[in-house]
């Protein structure tokens, strides 16, 4: 089975992605991760204004069969969360890099992204 690994994201070994947008960074979990979890039924993340730290737990995702912690791919302050996931958590399965995004963050230090895996490196990890 092959998984989508978009070239415009950076990746964490724990299967979260981060993508630079206009001055902010969006993040979520990868296609591989959503497939491993199966049907996502619940996503719990902190709210706007709270801060997250690279490599630290910032929330929880639950599928029908499992609970998993989410680890922040970058440090920063949350500027928005994906409200859609409250009622439609399956968006994480359907569109993990698009409508299934989780947080938009004002990064503390964008150079932290360099420490993440490139798309090629992440593809090797899940191969």
């Amino acid at each position: 089975m092959s998984f989508d690994v978009p070239p415009d994201c950076r990746y964490q070994e724990s299967h979260e992605w981060a993508r630079q947008e206009n001055g902010t960074v969006r993040l979520g979990i990868t296609d591989f991760a959503q497939d491993e979890l199966g049907d996502v039924v619940f996503v719990e993340v902190p709210g706007q204004g709270e801060s997250i730290e690279q490599g630290e737990e910032f929330g929880v995702i639950e599928s029908i069969k499992a609970v998993s912690d989410l680890y922040a791919p970058i440090s920063g302050t949350i500027v928005s969360t994906n409200e859609e996931l409250i009622d439609v958590p399956e968006l994480v399965n359907e569109d993990p890099y698009g409508d299934g995004w989780m947080l938009e963050v004002e990064p503390a230090d964008e150079s932290e992204l360099d420490a993440l895996l490139s798309p090629e490196e992440y593809e090797n990890q899940i191969a």
Partner: protein, 364 residues
């Protein structure tokens, strides 16, 4: 994220080749999901699905004292079974603690030959138990573990009679609940029972091990894994051996587990005297359904408290119900919580979440 389950050389393999994620279940390497738990679950509720349940044990008991041995080691009344009939039963120890739950079949076209189905990984233990008591009581019976002689396929859902009916010479519409017949299925000599673990119409087919793949292939419907098997049984409030009861980690008697209806105190069986006492006094705790009102998923091991924080019990199972779209689970609670709408809290990651009790089955 969870690591993929890796295979283990010591695991037993079912007789069907599955190209999907597998997990260790009772020492067997069994498929968890084929497509998605939700899709598989919905197929069974709305149409039909098939499950490889070859991990379930099969033990036959024959001989002039077979009925007596079965009667004395299971809680239900085996003498009530005519050939071709089956019943659900508990297997209890001297203290009335559930060791396993099982279905006992009086084999069709036999005079007093029985088959029972222990849960995955319990077959050797039950074989030993049966042989030990047979010897102790000096009974004439032959107990044989046939777990790797039979594969087992469950075909479940409203369309199950049509789907299976196309592959067999047995008149399925004449097969009542908990009845069993021998017959050909897809060219294999099988036992077909009108039993299941989903709450839907359905059948369980026991096939000679080497024919299981051909029977599986002939049943053209959604393949389902252990994940959907669990969500389907939970919506019905059915017990899972090892979760709702476990002789060491969660010792429970049948009254606590809500299966007092299979305890026949007017029969003689191991555990009867202890259970008579439990029945007279009533259990202090019982298994109750839980529905979460706040967001979250109740899961096995989570603590249940009263609204003011007093600890009441522990969840034994839980999931997001695909049919109801609500988070559901089972927990042992003091008997005053039996019934609907008693407010409780489920402690999820240190946060008390609002929930209430619910009489099972969750699906009406």
């Amino acid at each position: 994220m969870p690591a993929a389950h890796c295979s283990d050389m010591t695991l037993r393999s079912p007789p069907i080749e599955h190209e999907t994620k597998a997990t260790d279940f009772g020492g067997w390497e069994m498929p968890v999901e084929f497509d998605s738990i939700r899709a598989e679950h919905e197929a069974v509720r709305e149409r039909v699905g098939k499950f490889d349940v070859s991990h379930m044990g099969q033990i036959t008991v024959s001989g002039s004292d077979a009925q007596r041995l079965m009667q004395r080691l299971t809680t239900n009344d085996v003498t009530a079974l005519d050939p071709g009939e089956a019943q659900y039963a508990g297997i209890t120890d001297e203290d009335g603690i559930l060791l396993d739950d099982t279905v006992v079949y009086h084999l069709p076209e036999s005079e007093g030959e029985y088959l029972f189905i222990p849960n995955a990984g319990h077959d050797e233990q039950m074989l030993d138990r049966w042989n030990r008591y047979r010897e102790e009581w000096g009974l004439d019976a032959t107990v044989t573990n046939r777990t790797t002689e039979y594969g087992m396929i469950a075909v479940q859902g409203p369309d199950a009679p049509n789907l299976l009916g196309d592959q067999t010479d047995v008149s399925l519409n004449k097969l009542g609940n908990f009845e069993v017949r021998t017959g050909m299925v897809a060219g294999a000599d099988c036992l077909i029972a009108r039993t299941g673990y989903t709450g839907e119409k359905g059948f369980e087919v026991l096939c000679p091990w080497d024919t299981t793949q051909q029977v599986w292939d002939a049943l053209d419907c959604q393949p389902c894994g252990l994940g959907a098997r669990d969500t389907l049984r939970l919506e019905m409030g059915f017990l899972l051996s090892g979760e709702e009861f476990h002789p060491e980690e969660n010792p429970r008697n049948p009254y606590e587990a809500g299966i007092g209806f299979v305890v026949k105190l007017d029969t003689e069986f191991v555990g009867r005297d202890a259970l008579e006492g439990v029945e007279a006094e009533g259990p202090e705790e019982k298994l109750v359904g839980i529905i979460l009102r706040d967001r979250g998923i109740p899961r096995s091991g989570y603590t249940i408290t009263s609204p003011d924080g007093e600890e009441l019990g522990t969840m034994t199972s839980g999931t997001m119900s695909p049919t109801l779209g609500e988070p559901i689970g089972l927990a042992y609670l003091p008997v005053e919580y039996v019934g609907d709408k008693h407010p409780v809290r489920v402690v999820i990651r240190d946060e008390p979440k609002k929930a209430h009790t619910r009489t099972t089955p969750f699906l009406s």
